[in-house]
């Protein structure tokens, strides 16, 4: 059974990508997946060799053919996104792609071509295969691209007999995050001990409950405010989320990033590296992650 761990945080900049990259070194036989298609960074630590790239075709956008348009104004009346100007030009950024104007234009003067909204890639890295994407600037449909990248990662895992997908998730709790977590084995929630870190983690925890995915908590930069780290822990425990461990604030994270490496490669003897190894061991102990769970159970019966 293929398992998927999705690393999320709610708040941005808590260390999702750095920690995902370090986990990738510790995990064996994995597929890496970067689901932060909006501002993907994992490739900066992975130096992926792109084996194949494909266009991501998202929604369609309306384009009015000037020569066929009689300026009747029907499209402007219909458009709820005020995307059509007085001289009947569709603003592609405002166009939601609903196609209502296209269908109801009395002159049938509106085209509706499918748009390329981004790209996605299958790559090879020193930690194994990686599936990643890049949403075009100012594009919509980030959730669709996330779902696509995750689906491709799963197919790749099945094809190559790899048991674990490690997914670097986006920040927030909206569309791309919702697309990142459905059907995951567990979320690893990276929290920093700040008022905003705790606030944002609460919301991502609620989202995890909403989509019935278990949440595991990892407190990064915990020594920045040990009292707040304690509050994060209390919150996690009272909401049935296990705390996997604490990682100290350490400039080696930044140094590793500059070197294009993960923390374990760059500073294997650092306290941060030791803490990450411990967190990973804890994650592997989580029952849903135990690849032998079902087998063990049946052997007990025998």
């Amino acid at each position: 059974m293929i398992r998927e761990l999705v690393v999320v945080s709610g708040k941005g900049g808590t260390g999702k990508t750095s920690i995902t990259a370090a986990f990738a070194l510790l995990a064996e036989k994995i597929v890496l997946c970067d689901a932060d298609v909006d501002a993907a960074d994992l490739h900066l630590l992975m130096a992926p060799r792109v084996l194949g790239s494909s266009d991501f075709m998202g929604g369609s956008k309306a384009i009015i053919r000037k020569k066929d348009c009689t300026a009747c104004g029907r499209c402007r009346d219909l458009c709820r996104f005020t995307a059509i100007s007085e001289d009947f030009v569709v603003d592609p950024i405002s166009c939601e792609g609903c196609g209502v104007c296209v269908d109801l234009c009395p002159e049938q003067a509106i085209d509706f071509p499918v748009q390329k909204c981004g790209e996605w890639f299958v790559s090879d890295t020193r930690m194994g295969p990686m599936v990643h994407g890049r949403l075009g600037i100012a594009e919509e449909n980030s959730g669709k691209l996330v779902s696509l990248v995750r689906r491709e990662a799963r197919e790749l895992a099945e094809k190559q007999g790899l048991q674990l997908i490690l997914t670097d998730g986006p920040p927030g709790i909206g569309c791309p995050v919702i697309a990142s977590i459905g059907g995951a084995t567990a979320l690893v929630i990276i929290v920093e001990p700040t008022v905003s870190g705790l606030h944002d983690m609460r919301r991502v925890a609620q989202l995890a409950v909403h989509f019935k995915v278990p949440g595991l908590v990892c407190i990064n930069k915990y020594d920045l405010n040990p009292e707040m780290a304690g509050r994060v822990e209390t919150f996690a425990e009272s909401h049935n989320m296990r705390v996997m461990g604490h990682i100290p604030f350490d400039p080696v994270f930044t140094q590793a990033m500059i070197a294009g490496q993960n923390v374990l490669e760059h500073a294997p003897d650092s306290t941060a590296a030791a803490a990450i190894r411990k967190v990973w061991q804890e994650i592997l102990r989580f029952p849903a992650m135990n690849t032998l769970g079902i087998k063990d159970f049946s052997s007990n019966i025998q």
Binding site: G10, A39, A138, G174, T254
Partner: protein, 284 residues
């Protein structure tokens, strides 16, 4: 004067800059927290909220007795929010983009406008500072309409400061679009630089003048500064990494509270923005 504060990468200090800047300016300023997925400004400002309202979007409600199962509504819906099963229309409200196509096209006029709650907007004051933020309902995917609602909140202030969400996709565009200036906040690291480039592309697409704040300016490398120089993006403020600032942030305190001398720097940052926005306005 509307200033949006954006970054590409999360956690670079947008909220820090937005709150400190707004508070340093005070009277006649309104701060709009448009990071509706994870709004944080209120944690630092503790505004007194005087108004709370649900923000909704319209969805179709089928009057089954009037529906003859013709499927026209399902056919026009590009978001697959409607489907017809055994002559009955099923609505999936969470997929609806509120385009109104189904209502328009129904020959039996059997579809009414209902609504789905996207989240709440709260507004109030923090001393002299006007304040509003949106909070997306957990499980709701669609942030832009809520962001636009928060953007429209106004109480006579002349200066509007917008704290935008991270990224470069539709929620960020909803927060940045139509503003007079984009203040980009980054950190001088490879991640910071990579995501800054994306943010700059978005700003260029919208044709808005921009400037840069480098946060934790002494951690990392020179990539961001070199890039800014090459691109001609003015660096308006550098905030050093200071454990005192980081700890204050973790407790929910502002820089200007623990180091009052910073208020003057944020006011100077504002003057710099006014100059840049003004000169580019004249060019246009």
């Amino acid at each position: 004067m509307i200033i949006s504060i954006a970054s590409g990468k999360g956690g670079t200090g947008k909220t820090t800059v937005a709150t400190n800047l707004a508070l340093s300016l005070g009277d006649g300023v309104r701060l709009l927290d448009c990071d509706v997925e994870e709004p944080n400004c209120h944690l630092f400002l503790h505004p007194v909220m005087t108004d709370v309202q649900d923000v909704t979007t319209c969805i179709p409600v089928i009057r089954q007795e009037a529906c003859n199962g013709c499927k026209k509504c399902a056919e026009i819906c590009r978001f697959r929010a409607l489907t017809v099963v055994a002559g009955k229309v099923l609505v999936f409200p969470e997929l609806c983009h509120s385009c109104g196509g189904c209502i328009e096209v129904c020959p039996e006029k059997a579809i009414d406008e209902g609504y789905r709650v996207l989240g709440v907007m709260e507004s109030g004051k923090c001393g002299e500072l006007g304040f509003a933020h949106g909070r997306l309902r957990v499980g709701e995917a669609m942030a832009p309409p809520l962001i636009r609602k928060v953007r429209a909140s106004r109480n006579g202030e002349k200066t509007i400061i917008i704290d935008a969400p991270p990224g470069t996709s539709c929620p960020v565009i909803a927060a940045m679009r139509g503003t007079d200036f984009v203040l980009l906040v980054t950190e001088p690291t490879p991640f910071g630089l990579h995501d800054l480039r994306l943010a700059v592309e978005a700003v260029k697409l919208l044709g808005i003048p921009c400037g840069l704040v480098i946060n934790r300016a002494d951690m990392g490398d020179d990539g961001v500064r070199e890039y800014a120089e090459r691109e001609g993006i003015p660096v308006l403020l550098e905030i050093p990494y200071d454990r005192k600032i980081a700890e204050a942030y973790s407790r929910g305190s502002l820089i200007v509270e623990v180091m009052p001398e910073w208020a003057e720097r944020f006011r100077r940052l504002y003057s710099g923005i006014v100059t840049l926005a003004g000169s580019s306005g004249r060019q246009q």
